[in-house]
C-alpha cells in the first residue's frame, strides 16, 4: 500500500513534468513563429533546426530578433515564478510576490543607480539590483516583524510602503539624471522589447544558479511552512534557511529586473496555479513553477507585441491585467490572523 502511494505520486509528477516540458517547447516555437513578418511554420522550424544556414532576412528575424526575445521571456518568467514560490513558502504568506513585497522596486533602484553611475556596460546591473532588492526585503521584514512573527497583512503593508518610497527615489534619481526618460520609463514598466542575446546571457547564470539553489532548499522550505518552532523541532535552522531563501529570491528578482524591468504578478499567480495542479511540495513546485512561469510570460509577451502592432504594450501591463484580479480573489479567499 505504501509503495503504491509513492509510485502513483511519482508517475503523476513525472507525467506533469513531461507535459510542461512539451508545452514549453510548443510555446517557444509558436511564439517565435508569430510576429509582423509572416514566416511559415515550416520555415521557422527549418531555421530553428539549422542555425548555421539561417541566412537572409527571415533567418535574421528568427535568430537575432525573435528567438533571443522569446528565450529571454521564458527565462524571466521562470525566474520570477521561482522567486515568488520561494517568498511564499519562506514567509508562509500566500500573497507574497517580488512585486508586492517591494523586492522588485528595490532591484529597480539598484539598477537605476547603476545606470546613473554609467556602470551598466560592465555587467554590474544585476549586482546593483541585488543589493537594492535584498535591502528592501530586509527593510520590509524589520518593519513588519512583531513579537517574532511576520503577520501576512503587515508584510503586505510594509511592502507597499517600502515599494512606494523606493519607487519615488527611483523616479527622482532618473529625472535628475537627465537620461532618456522614454526608454527608462518603458524599462521600468516591464518590457522585453528589443532585447538581444547579450541580455539572455546576462540573465542565464543568475537564473540557473538561483533556481538550482532554490531546488536544493526545497525540502527545508516544506518544513518552513510548518512555522519556525515546528521546523526547528524537525532539525533545521529556520532563521538561517529563511534568510538564505529570501536572498536567493532577491537575487532571482534582481537578475530578472535587470534585463526586463518590473514585471509583476508572475511570481504570485504561477506558484498558486502550480499548487492547485501538482500540490504544494516545493520539490515539484520550484521546477514546475519555472516552466509554467516561462510559458505564461512568453504568451503574455506574444500578446503584448502582436495585438496592437505596430505599437507594442509593455508586457508588465499584460501581466498586471491578468494578475491583479487573481490577487483580489486570493485576498478575498484567504483568512488572515
Amino acid at each position: 500500500m505504501k509503495s503504491s502511494i509513492h509510485s502513483e505520486r511519482f508517475v503523476f509528477r513525472a507525467s506533469l513534468f513531461f507535459l510542461l516540458i512539451s508545452l514549453s517547447l510548443l510555446t517557444i516555437f509558436f511564439s517565435v513563429s508569430l510576429g509582423p513578418a509572416a514566416i511559415p511554420f515550416k520555415r521557422v522550424l527549418f531555421y530553428l533546426l539549422h542555425p548555421r544556414s539561417s541566412k537572409g532576412i527571415f533567418g535574421e528575424i528568427i535568430w537575432e530578433i525573435r528567438t533571443p526575445r522569446v528565450l529571454l521571456g521564458f527565462l524571466v518568467g521562470g525566474t520570477l515564478a521561482v522567486a515568488g514560490a520561494g517568498l511564499q513558502g519562506a514567509l508562509r504568506n500566500p500573497l507574497a510576490d517580488p512585486y508586492i513585497v517591494g523586492t522588485s522596486s528595490g532591484a529597480a533602484l539598484g539598477a537605476a543607480v547603476c545606470f546613473i553611475l554609467k556602470l551598466e556596460a560592465f555587467h554590474l546591473i544585476p549586482i546593483f539590483a541585488f543589493v537594492g532588492a535584498s535591502s528592501s526585503i530586509l527593510a520590509v521584514l524589520i518593519l513588519s516583524r512583531r513579537k517574532g512573527e511576520l503577520p501576512v497583512t503587515r508584510v503586505l503593508l510594509a511592502g507597499v510602503v517600502v515599494g512606494s518610497l523606493v519607487w519615488a527615489v527611483v523616479t527622482f534619481l532618473l529625472t535628475m539624471s537627465g537620461e532618456n526618460m522614454d526608454k527608462l520609463v518603458f524599462w521600468l514598466m516591464g518590457s522585453l522589447n528589443g532585447r538581444t542575446w547579450s541580455d539572455f546571457f546576462l540573465l542565464l547564470p543568475y537564473a540557473a544558479a538561483g533556481t538550482i539553489l532554490m531546488m536544493l532548499l526545497a525540502h527545508p522550505l516544506n518544513l518552513l511552512t510548518l512555522g519556525e518552532e515546528r521546523a526547528e523541532s524537525l532539525g533545521i535552522h529556520p532563521e538561517k534557511i529563511k534568510l538564505f531563501i529570501l536572498l536567493i529570491s532577491s537575487l532571482l528578482t534582481a537578475a530578472a529586473v535587470s534585463v526586463s524591468g518590473l514585471i509583476g504578478f508572475i511570481g504570485l499567480v504561477v506558484p498558486h496555479a502550480v499548487r492547485i495542479l501538482a500540490g504544494p511540495d516545493h520539490r515539484t513546485l520550484i521546477p514546475f513553477s519555472f516552466l509554467t512561469g516561462g510559458i505564461i510570460l512568453v504568451w503574455s509577451d506574444t500578446f503584448a507585441r502582436i495585438v496592437f502592432q505596430p505599437a507594442e504594450l509593455p508586457v508588465g501591463v499584460v501581466t498586471a491585467l491578468l494578475g491583479s484580479p487573481f490577487f483580489l480573489y486570493l485576498l478575498k479567499r484567504s483568512q488572515f490572523s
Binding site: 505504501k2 509503495s3 526545497a218 512555522g227 526547528e232 504544494p280 490572523s337
Partner: protein
Amino acid sequence: MTHSIIQSQNISFQYDQIQALTEVSCEIKKQEFVGVIGPNGSGKSTFLKILSGTLNPISGKVFLKEKNLNAYGKKERGKIISFIPQFFAYDFSFSVQEFAEMGRAPYLKFLGSLTAEDQRAVEWAVHKSDCDDLRERKMTQLSGGEKQRALLAQGLAQEPEIFILDEPVSHLDIGHQIQILTALKKQTLEGRTLVCSFHDLNLASLFSDHIFLFSSGKLFKSGIPKEVLTSEILQEIYRTPIKVLSDSNSSSPLVFPNLQKSNFEEKLT
C-alpha cells in the same frame, strides 16, 4: 524505570522586559505522562519551548539524558524530542501522507527522499494516530480533530523518545480530546515520555502521571494529580471558588467551579 530523562535547572526567560519564567527546576522521568497546567500567561508555553530546545533560556540549563541540551545538534535533537507547538492555521494543501512524511526530516539527507525504513516509520505513525483513512486528504480540507491527528502522525513519524505538546486538545470536542489523549497515553507504554500542557484540569487529572502547576512564571507545585489538584491550591492560583472531588480509590480527582447557578443569578438581579 525511574530514570530522569530530561531535567531543567533554574531556567528563566523574559520577553521584552516581561518576566515569563523564573528559575524553574524540574525533573521528568522516562515513560511518564506529565501534564502542565496553569492560568493563561503563567509560562506553560515558554516552559515547553525551552524544554524542547526551540527557545534558549536567558539563564539556567536543560539536560537531556544528562547532557546539556545545547550540546545536541538540531537533527540529533530532532530524533529524540518532537515538539508540537500550539495549533496554527495551515494554508498549504499537502496531503496527510506528505504531511506525516515531513516528520522524518531529522533522519533525511539534504534532498529528503525516504528510505524503506523511513516509509515504515511513516506507515506506523499514520496508523497509530488513526490517520489511515485520511492519508489522501488535503490538510486544508480537514476538521480541527483531523488536523490534530495529522500533526500527531507527523510527530510520531519522528519516532521521538520525548513528545512535547502545547495544548494539543484545547480546540477539540470531548470525543476528539479523549481520542487524541488516549493515542498519546498509549505511547508511554511503548517507552515514550510525554509532556503536554492542558487548559482542562480534568483531562490533565485523568491522563497525567505527574502534574506541573505554573503560576506567574514559576513552577508553583509539582506532584501526582492528587497532590496538586486540591481546592486550596487551585483557588489560590485561579482566583475562583473551586471544588475538588477525590475519593481514596481514584488517583484522578475531579475539579469543578464551586458555584451554584443561583449564586450569580442573584448577583445579576
